[in-house]
């Protein structure tokens, strides 16, 4: 999908208009931003917005996030374990210390 983000009131309004005129291509809308179908028509609409509003529009690509494919088991497991911890006020660093759970600084350095 294409993620379109607007950065001005005029661009935001244009995006709203796109949403009402082309419901079938706008997958999801978040006010200032929207997900468009990654079809040529979706790209056409996104590029038209870029033409009209220039740098007040940003277009990126969004894909399905398949955690089983893209994320190491240890990271998935750490998220599960941390969210079911006993004491809510424990920060993750302390929770993970002395366990096999991945260290947050190391996770920050590793790309998916």
């Amino acid at each position: 999908m294409l993620l379109v983000v607007t950065y001005s009131t005029a661009a935001r309004q244009s995006l709203r208009n796109v949403r009402s005129l082309h419901e079938e291509t706008v997958v999801r809308s978040f006010g200032r931003a929207a997900l468009l179908a990654a079809t040529e028509f979706g790209a056409f609409l996104a590029l038209r917005l870029r033409e009209r509003h220039g740098e007040d529009v940003e277009v990126r690509r969004a894909e399905r996030f398949n955690e089983y494919r893209s994320v190491p088991e240890a990271v998935r497991e750490a998220a599960r374990a941390y969210e079911s911890r006993e004491s809510p006020s424990t920060p993750y660093e302390r929770f993970a210390a002395g366990t096999d759970h991945p260290d947050p600084d190391r996770m920050r350095d590793r790309e998916l």
């Binding site: 950065y7 001005s8 009131t9 935001r12 200032r32 220039g54 740098e55 007040d56 940003e58």
Partner: protein, 329 residues
């Protein structure tokens, strides 16, 4: 007030003119011919010294361009297209003129905003006024910066290199297959192997270039984040400004709503006005006329409708100087 057009002069609190475009007259009231004063030294400055020198917003962009002096051929061409130049000598218009400075049946007005503007002419203020000015001031100071052209160039380069890399990878795969086939057939594969080596070397080069180009693009985008931050700040402020101005208009309209309601009964035409500010049902023109009536106006309003007996009657009813414009025909 003094109105000059086509070599004729009209004076008084209520004047009538024929065959002119009401928009042009309204623009002349708004001081549209100020620019003529600067680029046409031959024509008199009709404004007569507006000390603030503020540019006036005029109801019609066309009006502003047209209300210029008779310069050389250009002026005459304009006259032929849009009619003769109009000059108005009168005090400068205030906030209500943008919305109700031209009274015509086909003009729409935002009722609450118009009543609020009338309240301003009476000296009313809104508690949001200070905040509005603060937000405006911060907005003026924001320099967003711009996406560099570098990004576009970097994007294209990455796209080109990715394409090249794909082609070389395919070539390498093809040549690998060829070498294997030759070996299977126990034929001489030296030539093919040499070509494979060359292709693999080129593939490796392109891959390295592509990675470097991608990193460059990443860096450009990281640098852009501060531009995005400022754009978001600007958006936030613009939204806040819109909310503050709306709240100010509600406050101002409320302050004079009863007076407005009474004024609606005193101008030609019928409408229903409720207790609650903003509840108005009827012709926009009636709302505009009532707003003019309650307002304190020194600059004339342009009346381009047939509701009054005479320009003087209009001026009396509306409580403002009037230029009655009769359309040609």
């Amino acid at each position: 007030m003094i109105l000059r057009v086509d070599g004729r002069t009209y004076r008084g609190r209520a004047v009538a003119v024929h065959g002119l475009d009401p928009g042009r007259v309204a623009a002349a009231v708004a001081g549209g011919d100020r620019t003529a004063g600067t680029d046409d030294p031959a024509s008199p400055d009709a404004r007569g010294g507006d000390p603030t020198g503020r540019a006036r917003a005029d109801p019609t962009e066309r009006g502003r361009r047209d209300a210029r002096g008779d310069g050389a051929g250009e002026g005459r061409d304009r006259d032929r297209q849009f009619g003769p130049a109009v000059r108005v000598e009168a005090p400068p218009p205030g906030p209500l003129h943008d919305r109700a400075g031209l009274l015509a049946p086909d003009r729409s007005v935002a009722v609450r905003a118009t009543v609020a503007a009338a309240a301003r002419t009476l000296g009313h203020e809104a508690p949001q006024d200070g905040d509005v000015e603060a937000v405006r001031s911060e907005l003026r100071s924001i320099e967003v910066g711009s996406e560099s052209d570098d990004r576009e160039a970097a994007l294209r380069r990455v796209a080109d290199l990715e394409g090249e890399e794909e082609r070389f990878a395919e070539r390498v795969a093809r040549l690998q297959g060829r070498v294997q086939t030759l070996r299977d057939r126990e034929e001489d594969a030296d030539d093919a192997r040499e070509r494979l080596r060359e292709a693999a070397a080129r593939l490796s080069e392109v891959r390295t270039e592509r990675l470097a180009a991608r990193q460059r693009l990443d860096r450009i985008e990281r640098d852009l984040r501060s531009v995005r931050d400022r754009q978001e700040r600007r958006l936030e402020l613009e939204d806040r400004l819109g909310n503050l101005r709306r709240a100010a208009r509600r406050h101002l309209a409320r302050a004079v709503w009863d007076r407005f309601r009474a004024a609606v009964d005193s101008v030609p035409g019928r409408a229903t006005v409720g207790d609650r500010p903003g509840t108005f049902e009827g012709e926009d023109l009636v709302a505009a006329m009532a707003a003019v009536r309650i307002a304190d106006l020194a600059a004339p309003v342009v009346v381009a409708c047939d509701r009054f007996r005479s320009p003087a009657a209009a001026a009396d009813r509306l409580g403002a100087p009037v230029v009655r414009v009769h359309l040609a025909g």
